[in-house]
Amino acid sequence: MQDSLKSSSYQQLEQKSKYTNMFLRWFLYFTLILFASYFIFPLYVMVVTSLKTMEEIRQGTLLSWPSGINLESWAVAWGGRGYGAGDTFLRPYFWNSIKMVVPAVFFSTFIGAMTGYVLTKWRFKGDQWVFLFLLFGCFIPFQAILLPMARTLGVLGISNSVVGLVLVHTVYGIPFTTLFFRNYYVSVPTELVKAARIDGAGFFKIFFKILLPISAPIIVVTVIWQFTQIWNDFLFGSTFSFGEAAPIQVALNNMVLSSTSVKEYNVDMASAIIAGIPTLIVYVLAGKYFIRGLTSGAVKG
C-alpha cells in the first residue's frame, strides 16, 4: 500500500511542494527581517545621530555612519556645558528619578505582596469583592484623579517634590502589585499554610517562612513592571512637579522642546538614550520577566 503510493506523480508533487516551501521560507524571513528593520530603525538613528557633530548631521542623511565616535553631545546631555543660567542637563533629574523609583517600587511591592497574601491565604467572606475593588484601580484613566491629587499634594505640603511623586506612584501601583501577587499566591497550595497554622505558626511567620522564599519570580516580575512604569511615567511627573524636582522624562521633554537659538539634534538624541537606557537594560537582562509582567498587567498603558 505504502509503496504503490510512491508513484512518479507523487514524487513530482513532492518536488513541487519542496519549491513552494522554499519560496515560503524566503518570504517568511524577508518579512520578518523587514519588520525587524522597521523596529530597529529609530534606535539606530538615535545612536548614530548622538555620535555625530551638528555639521555632519546637516551634511549627511539619517542613516549615514558617523565619522568617528564623538561623545561630546553625550557629555553635554549628561553634564551640561558648564555655564550658569539656562544650561539644562540630565544628571540631577536622573538622580531625581532614582530617588523616586526606589522607594515607590519598594513600598508598592511590599503592600501588594501583603494584600495578595491576605486575599489568597486568609480568605474571608467577600474577599472577592475586595479584590475587584482594588483591581478597578488598574483601569481608571488618571485624568479622573489629577485635579484632586494636585490639591491633596498641596494640602500635604509635598507638591513639586520627589516625596509627593513617591506617594502618587506607590498608591497607583498598588492595584497592579496586588494583582500580580494575588494571582501568584492563588496557585500556592493552601494545605501548606493550613499545616503551618496547625503547628502554631502565626500570620507573619507563615508569610516570611513559607511564602516569601518561593516568591522570587513574582517579586522580579513586579519590581520590573513597577520600575518600568514609574521610570517611564510622564503624566504624573509633568503635572505634579516642575523645575528642580522633575523626574527625567519631564526634563528630557523640556530639553527637547526648549527653543534655544540652534536645535542640537545630537544632544537631543543622546538625552533620549540616557532617559531610556535604564529600562532598556532591564529589558535586555530580564526580558522573560518583563514580558510576563506585560501580559498580565499591561492594561495600564
Partner: protein
C-alpha cells in the same frame, strides 16, 4: 485585646491598600465627578451648576477635534497593531532561526517611554533633516514627507509612532496564545490534508478569540489615555490639529484654569474607559469562576 488583634491581623494588614485605593481612586473620581457639575474656574466651587460644563464641552470645537482624532487614532492604531502583531506571531511560530533575537527586537520599544519614542520619531519625521532629506539626498528630489507639520496629516505621524511602540506587544500576546494550542490539533488537521494557511485561518485564529479580545481592550485603553506621545511628538499641533482628550483635559485644567470644564472632560474619558473595561472584567470573572 491581644486576641482581637490576632484574629483581625489579616484585615489590619490589608487595610492600608483598601484605604489608599478607596480614598485616592474612588474618593477622587467622585470628587472629579462632583466638580464637573459645578462652575469651578481656578479654584473649585461647591455649588451645583447642573450639566453646564458638559454642554460647554460638547460645544467646544477643540474638544470635538480631540474626539475626532481619538476615533481616527484608535481605529488605525488597532488595525495596524493587530495585523502586524498577528503576522509577526504566525511567522515567528514557524520554527524560525534566531527567533529569540527577532522577538527581542520587536518588543523592545515597549520598554521605552513615550517621551523617548516621541523624541526619536520627531527627529526622524522632521522635514528639514529627517526622512524627507534622506530620500532627496538619494536622488528623489521631489520626495515629500512633511506630515509632522501638515495639519491634515499630523495625526497619522502619531499612529506611526504608536504602532511602532505597541505592535510587538500584540505579537507577544498572540505568540503566547498560539504556543498554548495543543500540537495534536494542528497535526490532526494536517493529516486530514489541510494546508498551513487553512490551519491558521480556519482553526488557530478562531481559537484566538480571547487574545483578540484582550488586545482590543488593552489597545483601546492605551489610545484613550494617550498623552505623552502627543506631547513629545506634536504637542497637539500644528495649531490644535492633533489634540486628543487627555491633552485637552490637562491643558484646560492647568493652562486655562477651567477646572470644572476639565473635570467634565476627565469624566467623559472615564466613561469611555468604563464602557470598554466593565464588559471585559465581567467576562474575565465569569471565565475564572467557570474554571
Amino acid at each position: 485585646m491581644f486576641k482581637w488583634l490576632e484574629k483581625n491581623l489579616p484585615k489590619i494588614v490589608m487595610a492600608p491598600a483598601v484605604g489608599l485605593i478607596g480614598w485616592f481612586v474612588y474618593g477622587f473620581v467622585l470628587w472629579t465627578l462632583y466638580i464637573s457639575f459645578t462652575n469651578s474656574k481656578i479654584l473649585p466651587k461647591y455649588e451645583l451648576w447642573g450639566f453646564g460644563q458638559y454642554e460647554k464641552l460638547w460645544a467646544s470645537r477643540k474638544w470635538l477635534i480631540a474626539v475626532d482624532n481619538l476615533l481616527i487614532f484608535t481605529a488605525l492604531f488597532l488595525i495596524f497593531c493587530v495585523v502586524i502583531g498577528i503576522i509577526l506571531a504566525i511567522f515567528l511560530d514557524q520554527k524560525i532561526r534566531a527567533e529569540g533575537l527577532l522577538r527581542t527586537i520587536y518588543l523592545y520599544p515597549m520598554a521605552l517611554s513615550f517621551i523617548v519614542t516621541g523624541t526619536a520619531w520627531k527627529w526622524i519625521l522632521n522635514p528639514t533633516l529627517g526622512i524627507q532629506k534622506m530620500f532627496r539626498d538619494w536622488g528623489f528630489e521631489n520626495f515629500t514627507f512633511d506630515w509632522l507639520v501638515d495639519r491634515e496629516m499630523a495625526i497619522y505621524t502619531i499612529v506611526i509612532a504608536g504602532v511602532w511602540q505597541s505592535a510587538g506587544f500584540v505579537m507577544a500576546l498572540f505568540l503566547a496564545g498560539l504556543r498554548s494550542v495543543e500540537d495534536e490539533i494542528v497535526k490532526a488537521a494536517k493529516i486530514d490534508g489541510a494546508s498551513l494557511f487553512t490551519v491558521y485561518w480556519k482553526i488557530l485564529l478562531p481559537m484566538m478569540r480571547p487574545v483578540f479580545f484582550t488586545s482590543f481592550v488593552i489597545l483601546v485603553h492605551i489610545s484613550i489615555k494617550s498623552y505623552d506621545l502627543i506631547v513629545a511628538l506634536t504637542q497637539g499641533g500644528p495649531g490644535i490639529s492633533t489634540t486628543m482628550p487627555a491633552l485637552y483635559m490637562t491643558q484646560t485644567a492647568f493652562h486655562k484654569s477651567q477646572v470644572g470644564l476639565s473635570a467634565a472632560s476627565a469624566m467623559m474619558m472615564f466613561m469611555a474607559v468604563a464602557a470598554v473595561i466593565i464588559p471585559y472584567l465581567y467576562s474575565e470573572l465569569r471565565r475564572e469562576n467557570a474554571r
